[in-house]
């Protein structure tokens, strides 16, 4: 690769390493695995950079991370593709239909903040989503990707992104609320 291309790679792709790592970290639910995935994805990105024709570098890089993470998980731990089995209810897609109706969400921001006091608990709730729900949730809520960008990264139609996102949100809200009730009951 010529020096000019190298400089471009550093300028265009490297600024998105944090987003790429965050995505890999949420997909694999593990810091060591995320490091492996990001390293492998970076090599691929560098290798395929010649084929990058401009446009959205962040989406381009995260698409590579997505593909790398899924093939990595398939190689190293087949079960990860189907989500954790610790809480059987949360990753069953149909379970989302039994989620808390949006009308029953807390009324005031103060209650909501009470719900949100445990960041660690929330991280665990997100980790328990199955990967295909977790990735759209993370890309939208943390990385603030548009539906079209998420569709590109996950290689699914926009309609699928919307339905997965809606279900993921319902699952997270339901578990979050349950967690808050448990904590409230324990006090």
């Amino acid at each position: 690769m010529d020096p000019e291309a190298k400089r471009s790679f550093e300028k265009i792709v490297l600024p998105h390493l944090d987003a790429a790592y965050n995505f890999a970290r949420h997909l694999t639910s593990n810091a060591d695995d995320a490091a492996d995935v990001l390293q492998e994805a970076s090599f691929r990105a560098f290798r395929f950079f010649g084929g990058f024709r401009g446009g959205n570098a962040r989406t381009w890089l995260l698409t590579i991370v997505h593909n790398t993470a899924y093939s990595w998980m398939a190689r190293h731990r087949r079960i990860a593709l189907h989500g954790s089995t610790k809480d059987a209810g949360i990753e069953r897609p149909l379970e989302a239909f039994y989620a808390v109706p949006w009308e029953r969400l807390p009324d005031d921001p103060e209650t909501i903040l009470l719900l949100a006091e445990s960041e660690e608990a929330l991280a665990k709730i997100v980790d328990r989503l199955s990967p295909e729900y977790r990735e759209v949730f993370v890309l939208r809520e943390i990385e603030e990707f548009s539906y079209a960008e998420i569709a590109e990264v996950a290689s699914v139609p926009i309609g699928t992104v919307m339905s997965r996102l809606a279900r993921a949100r319902r699952q997270v809200q339901k578990q979050w609320r349950r967690q808050a009730e448990l904590e409230g009951g324990a006090r």
Binding site: M1, L14, N22, F43, F46, L105, P109, V138, I142, R169
Partner: protein, 132 residues
């Protein structure tokens, strides 16, 4: 504006997925529909609280350094892990043209095929001989 699916519209609005015209229409609707206005306020507050608490992991500096070093070292070459993973089925034929590949493949297969044929001919008694 009717309330086709307030939950969906609220999501689209909060995700910044409504174009200018539809967003303006939605905002006008909120002013005339208290139910949707309340739903919008609730969801907005909930989303804000939730997003603020979601863990955002940063790439460890050691990892970034490792990636930068590896990039300099390997240049345009594939990293060892990639090379292993994407190893071609016939490694020595990876860079050949299609015709040359087939030619080499035929040559490679010729010896085993010839041996198999000889073995078959030796082990199977010809039909004409078995009758005599």
């Amino acid at each position: 504006m009717k309330c086709p699916d307030p939950s969906l519209l609220v999501d689209l609005a909060l995700d910044d997925e409504l174009d200018t015209a539809r967003l303006a229409e939605f905002e006008r609707h909120l002013q005339s529909c208290p139910d949707c206005a309340v739903a919008y306020a609730r969801k907005k507050a909930l989303k804000g609280a939730l997003c603020a608490q979601l863990p955002r992991h940063r790439a460890p500096s050691t990892l970034v350094q490792r990636i930068c070093k590896a990039r300099k070292r390997f240049g345009n070459e594939a990293a060892p892990t990639i090379a292993r993973q994407e190893a071609p089925l016939f490694p020595r034929m990876g860079t050949l043209s299609g015709a040359e590949f087939l030619h080499r493949l035929a040559a490679t297969c010729k010896a085993p095929v010839t041996r198999c044929r000889a073995w078959l001919e030796a082990s199977v008694t010809p039909f004409s001989q078995s009758r005599s």
